[in-house]
Symmetry: D2
Subunit: 470 residues, 4 copies
Amino acid sequence: MFAEIKGLNEECGVFAVWGHKDAAQITYYGLHSLQHRGQEGAGIVVTDGEQLSVHKGMGLVNEVFRPEDLTLLHGKGAVGHVRYATAGGGGFANVQPLLFRSQRGGLALAHNGNLVNANNLKHQLEGQGSIFQSTSDTEVLAHLIKRSGYYTLEDQLKNALSMLKGAYAFAVMNETQLMVALDPNGLRPLSIGRLGDAYVVASETCAFDIIGAEYERDVQPGELVIIDDNGLRSERFVSSQPRAICSMEYVYFARPDSNVDGVNVHTARKNLGKQLAYEAPIEADVVTGVPDSSISAAIGYAEQTGIPYELGLIKNRYVGRTFIQPSQELREQGVKMKLSAVRGVVEGKRVVMIDDSIVRGTTSRRIVRMLREAGAKEVHVRISSPPIKNPCFYGIDTSTTEELIASNHSIEEMRDMMGADTLAFLSTEGLMAGIGRDSLEPNCGQCLACFTGQYPTEIYADTLHPHAKV
Amino acid sequence: MFAEIKGLNEECGVFAVWGHKDAAQITYYGLHSLQHRGQEGAGIVVTDGEQLSVHKGMGLVNEVFRPEDLTLLHGKGAVGHVRYATAGGGGFANVQPLLFRSQRGGLALAHNGNLVNANNLKHQLEGQGSIFQSTSDTEVLAHLIKRSGYYTLEDQLKNALSMLKGAYAFAVMNETQLMVALDPNGLRPLSIGRLGDAYVVASETCAFDIIGAEYERDVQPGELVIIDDNGLRSERFVSSQPRAICSMEYVYFARPDSNVDGVNVHTARKNLGKQLAYEAPIEADVVTGVPDSSISAAIGYAEQTGIPYELGLIKNRYVGRTFIQPSQELREQGVKMKLSAVRGVVEGKRVVMIDDSIVRGTTSRRIVRMLREAGAKEVHVRISSPPIKNPCFYGIDTSTTEELIASNHSIEEMRDMMGADTLAFLSTEGLMAGIGRDSLEPNCGQCLACFTGQYPTEIYADTLHPHAKV
Amino acid sequence: MFAEIKGLNEECGVFAVWGHKDAAQITYYGLHSLQHRGQEGAGIVVTDGEQLSVHKGMGLVNEVFRPEDLTLLHGKGAVGHVRYATAGGGGFANVQPLLFRSQRGGLALAHNGNLVNANNLKHQLEGQGSIFQSTSDTEVLAHLIKRSGYYTLEDQLKNALSMLKGAYAFAVMNETQLMVALDPNGLRPLSIGRLGDAYVVASETCAFDIIGAEYERDVQPGELVIIDDNGLRSERFVSSQPRAICSMEYVYFARPDSNVDGVNVHTARKNLGKQLAYEAPIEADVVTGVPDSSISAAIGYAEQTGIPYELGLIKNRYVGRTFIQPSQELREQGVKMKLSAVRGVVEGKRVVMIDDSIVRGTTSRRIVRMLREAGAKEVHVRISSPPIKNPCFYGIDTSTTEELIASNHSIEEMRDMMGADTLAFLSTEGLMAGIGRDSLEPNCGQCLACFTGQYPTEIYADTLHPHAKV
Amino acid sequence: MFAEIKGLNEECGVFAVWGHKDAAQITYYGLHSLQHRGQEGAGIVVTDGEQLSVHKGMGLVNEVFRPEDLTLLHGKGAVGHVRYATAGGGGFANVQPLLFRSQRGGLALAHNGNLVNANNLKHQLEGQGSIFQSTSDTEVLAHLIKRSGYYTLEDQLKNALSMLKGAYAFAVMNETQLMVALDPNGLRPLSIGRLGDAYVVASETCAFDIIGAEYERDVQPGELVIIDDNGLRSERFVSSQPRAICSMEYVYFARPDSNVDGVNVHTARKNLGKQLAYEAPIEADVVTGVPDSSISAAIGYAEQTGIPYELGLIKNRYVGRTFIQPSQELREQGVKMKLSAVRGVVEGKRVVMIDDSIVRGTTSRRIVRMLREAGAKEVHVRISSPPIKNPCFYGIDTSTTEELIASNHSIEEMRDMMGADTLAFLSTEGLMAGIGRDSLEPNCGQCLACFTGQYPTEIYADTLHPHAKV
Ligand SMILES: Nc1ncnc2c1ncn2[C@@H]1O[C@H](COP(=O)(O)OP(=O)(O)O)[C@@H](O)[C@H]1O
Ligand SMILES: Nc1ncnc2c1ncn2[C@@H]1O[C@H](COP(=O)(O)OP(=O)(O)O)[C@@H](O)[C@H]1O
Ligand SMILES: Nc1ncnc2c1ncn2[C@@H]1O[C@H](COP(=O)(O)OP(=O)(O)O)[C@@H](O)[C@H]1O
Ligand SMILES: Nc1ncnc2c1ncn2[C@@H]1O[C@H](COP(=O)(O)OP(=O)(O)O)[C@@H](O)[C@H]1O
Ligand code: SF4
Ligand code: SF4
Ligand code: SF4
Ligand code: SF4
Ligand SMILES: [Mg+2]
Ligand SMILES: [Mg+2]
Ligand SMILES: [Mg+2]
Ligand SMILES: [Mg+2]
């Protein structure tokens, strides 16, 4: 089902809390608000100061956890994780947090991101006798920690992190300490908040709102934050590098109510829509957005152009896991599942259709066709981000270069393939301006690699096929 | 969970098809798009011309039907139903379509609405030896049909319908015919469409878009439509009365992409928002709506006032049946489940909060509090419909008069209870103007009873407690 | 799965209690112990003296009832039912107890048996305007009660019962009274017990043992027992007839720990085995029984002949609903599911294989083959009941006459078809002697119709196809 | 539920097949017949010659595998496992087979038994940088293999096995080879069979009967069997030691239809019953056994003494995972769940009650009480194995020494605690005689440690608390 519409997948969402007597419950609600970052699996590890307990499983947070499961997770500290559906399977062994137990104690790890040197590191570690049960990068960090030779978790972790390249936001917890770390470029978001006396950490700030916590600050690139019963300390494990936060978090992934590195996502999206209106105006009767991710941009485009925003496309809210797919025959007869065009709104109209991004282009083609079948006189496609021409190696499952429609076709070719009357993308300058981060930083502190091909980190030979993992 | 936010419940959604070889599949997708009209139970009866088969159950459409269930429902004609969760239980026996079998054949019935003389009729029927297994009105119709003395289903049905008072949209099917009927005032919506050679009937037109059918017309008040292998015929079973379609379908129930009696719901809602802006403007920084039902009105209000529309409230999409409720303690600490305020948008702002309607007022109070806790400087509540002061006897589960906050309190009292800075409702004139139906008809062809107390039908003594059914 | 082995199906099990504050819980455990009488569906109706509540569903007792379901069933009186899987479907509408609600109150009915004049009665009732939702006989009784013209439930029920022909054990309950009735021949078992001050009624006495109740007596043929807060009263609704309790309850259906009309079933079976040894001895090395129903008879045969009883056949305990059937190919390669022969026991041995009864003969053939494949040198089949030559019209789903192997073949032909070295059945005299009931009553008070063709009741024209029901 | 009756738990069941095109299906049926050895989790790994695929989960075999799961497991070789419910949790990470993946290929491991030096080995391995995700011994073997320094799996495995102490039956598989190994004392059972051209290996021979395979021989103590497309080869990895197969496999664990090291379990149990009759006769009216494990012994006791065997205790077959426990109050009123006494059989009788073994004694006490409440005049308890006085370190989860009733009380004390009239256990000599293995071997080739305290292997300091694992 998701394959019908999606072309982009976020790796994961991470949540952690320290110093709350209902740590597991808090984490459950936190993960819940991060559910859009991953629907394949979910898990929580808690510590009561003496030992770690875990519950995890495949499915949505509210499928994995029953009341009795939560009740068994006593403790003051917790790390939670939601995981997205990888194309190549993965299954239960990849569901996080990973939990390792040794005679000196346990270690839980949860991760959002992608290491570009994971294969090199695995190779080396296997040479030294390590064996792996999952295909995830996270297990690499566990082995590096164990082999570091240092004695405290803090030193082990610093040493291990110094060997990683790529994008990562890690939460690591043993019986008595919670540590979170962000990669030197700060590619992925990670924020810290307060809930009374407790500390909370989350991939997105929307998790703070749902539990009534207050946002405090974002974790800094290359920062290691150590939280325990003595409070919070900040350490660096690597010298500072310019921030390069993923632009697609603003464009597509993050929830509109989150602030990513201080910028509200809905507001950013609305401004991208306005910027797009400025760069690529058109005469038309209605503006409509592809729900849910493009609504904000569509409202911005409408606000800027004065063309009324209308509900020209609607998404069925009840399409779940067990939904029965229409047969090929019914599909050809026009049976839709997830998205449909609203005849009452678009019939006889010149329609501006806003989408957030284009990966393979198949969804856009289908939507243009729907709009025409529902009577739209003209369909003008406007995309609130630049063409995606390059693969992402930082945890976003864009297709390979061959599948990226924009990497092989001109805009005119794409317009033609989609059957749109006109097609325009936002410029990278427009993208930066719309998001509105500090314009003194290089690229306004953003990663733009999938648009420009300029990667903020080194890329290794065997990173080049991001999905050809063991 | 739904109780937290909801105060209004629609009775049901009806879907039917005749003349399609995949009648059950088509009905499955149709019901799917009507899911917002009822989540408690769903069912489909099909006929292959010789016999009726049924599958129904408690839960969402995609929970009730597994692929193998659909496969077993062979036939060219089908009637389907989704049913909402009644306060007083009901359970499986009330899940529709009801199916009766006799030695002369079967009879399936599906219903949306509420009969105001159901108790009288039941009383009479029991006196004559009828016995009832469900608490639904629909069984009354079945008994009336059976006892009518006529020979053909058409005559039986006409005779039976002539005894009903209230609001109803019925679909009735035997082995060889499908019939649909609407009450004399046309209180509930019911539309007819074409899907190739097949006829389809649905409570809302959004069901036509999802299956690729074309809207043809609405069923008329007091009309009986008979569909079989010879095509469609229209009959009247009662003299014409002025149309009085439920206003709340526009305000709240219907899906925004549906056209109700020819008027697009999203557009109507946006216009209600504009009308509200006109009637009750306010100086403020942002306009926000309570998702999902109030977004259209909020956009209209923003468009009209020029105050930017922002996402100040967000609704979690993954709150399902099995979601674990926060404990009282966590709730007090601020853990939310379904709806949260977006600090990044409302902090330090003067907020206009649009909601579609107010029933008991508890939700509004909670939302105002959330907005203030998220830093809103001022909160101005604007409601895109008039105060609900009277119970509905036509299938809408508003609370009893005592529970309706507006029936016992002045607007100023309500404002105070909510903790809002200002509060305003739309006028009934504004309601009619916003929806924009034919202004020559009485009340523009709308029922306004829950606002005005003027009921379009007679009301009986034992109708007066609409939920105190057997 | 069950089809593999089974050829006989019991209609149902009935349980009821009055005067216990945990009536629903008690009924849950009672039904549990009657689970072998029906696995398709289960239900409980309770009364708290003022109103009836119901929970029922498809599946096993412990699948249908979750703790929260039981908790909602408050009351001092309860009627429960387990239902077997009918060939011709039936589904939820047939799950009992049936519950009818009228403005004068509710009525719950549960039934074990089969009416031979159900079709006649339905015909008449439909002529008078009754309509039916299920295919079960039980609904007929409800309509007869309603139409009886009498005022108290007791009079209504007596009047209605007087119109029924066939085999039945009914439990009927309204808000304030529980009534149970047995057909004039007492074809089906029904016992009364005491649990402290409360009364309990059950199809089998094993239900009393599981709840710690004491057996008091069996309900008598043609007796109506009325239980309410004033205690228990006995009435007759029909003149006395000679008892004709189903022989197959002893042979196969009832649980070995039950006493049926005062006779312990395990003991009866063991004696049938001894009787069989006396009538049809053979020289052999081991005696084995088909688990579970033939173990007792096999032990009796072994005890009588002195040939050691061994475990030559074993039944897998974990074959559940969701068990994956082996493909035809694997089946041919010898993959078994439910039953297998024990090579370590039968290899090189002359085996006496005891089974309780033969319906279509396919299971016996398969078992003989298994035993030979496992190395048995000789296989002697001994059946602890006479050949079944006639259909049962009293609630036992034997196949039609054509399918009954014994109605079309001589014993020698059957032996040949099974591939057994020798084959012998118990005589009807042996059957009566083994069970050991009062030999002064006609047929020792047993029904022997499926063996002899002499039915204890009249049989109607349209009873003759017992499964061709509406 | 199981806690009510059980005091002994078997670690696991192992099944493997090589050279069959439906390897996964075959393994499914094999595991099914081993289900009694473990109900907590189940899994299958297959190889198609090129890569390993896995499916595993918590629950029964038929719950873990749906048809579509099996369909995805293509291959000619498979290893499967069923796992018992450990007291201390364990959860999914412990479900086997474990699967490790490296850049050189995959490795699957399945294990039945317990290593007495697991903690020592873990300690050493962790010192060398290994990290562990599960608490199972099996992961230790994986690390030893990986670190062995050898190149082929065969050499790696031999080297690794040489470091293990204790009881183990391992199946190890990579893409191209299946290997099975048994500990030097042969403490656990492991048999080899043929299914056409394919080889099968199973913890018990009942798995061969269900799939139609032929038993070939038992794996020998200290033997490593290598199976691949070239056939089967046998190697030794350790010098021969006297066989010491677990006596409790005969007494309790193994299925009665299995042959353990050539001896049929049912026959052995029946002979234990006869031996017990010889050692501890009593005058009585009926012999009864605790189902299911003690039926064979009870029949033997009855056969030897001439006292008739009757069904005095019955076990409900439908007590599943979701069964609702009776409240304390109902329990006291006599509501039973799993086991009940048959009044019709025991009332007024002198009863000999045979049980297979006594661990904590609570079950026996409850059963004696039940029998008395059902009217037994005398209750004589006879146990078909000697008193268990010492913990097992070989994979059997007996309680700790403190919990073993026989390690702290005299027989007279136990009799008194149980409320039995008399109590007798079988002698160790009687145990050996009854099973009837080769009497020239020390202890007839049996482990008797839990009875005698003489362990066939060394026991280490930190083995002493068998359940206090990491
Ligand atoms: N509760 C929510 N309300 C509004 N938007 C949400 C919510 N949860 C997630 N989103 C947004 O939904 C978008 C993804 O959903 P959508 O576009 O409907 O699906 P897709 O594009 O994956 O088919 C993301 O932009 C995410 O930020
Ligand atoms: N797929 C959809 N997209 C947008 N709105 C929808 C959709 N399905 C139903 N609705 C609308 O949602 C509203 C009810 O949802 P909402 O306000 O979120 O819930 P509630 O008020 O019941 O908590 C109705 O107005 C209905 O028209
Ligand atoms: N808990 C139990 N213990 C022993 N026998 C039982 C139990 N429950 C039911 N039975 C008996 O099992 C028999 C039916 O089971 P079985 O012969 O195994 O199945 P089938 O013949 O239907 O395949 C009946 O005779 C019934 O009395
Ligand atoms: N299908 C079967 N038929 C007969 N016995 C079985 C079967 N499966 C397992 N067993 C035996 O059942 C015994 C365990 O069951 P039981 O005594 O009923 O349970 P417990 O003692 O664990 O409560 C073991 O001895 C095992 O060998
Ligand atoms: S390459 Fe694109 S998707 Fe990947 S981190 Fe950079 S901006 Fe985000
Ligand atoms: S009373 Fe209100 S809710 Fe009911 S039908 Fe009329 S307008 Fe609709
Ligand atoms: S015919 Fe046979 S099965 Fe039917 S009631 Fe009589 S004895 Fe029982
Ligand atoms: S100690 Fe007892 S249970 Fe353990 S292996 Fe030895 S005989 Fe078996
Ligand atoms: Mg999208
Ligand atoms: Mg709403
Ligand atoms: Mg049987
Ligand atoms: Mg046992």
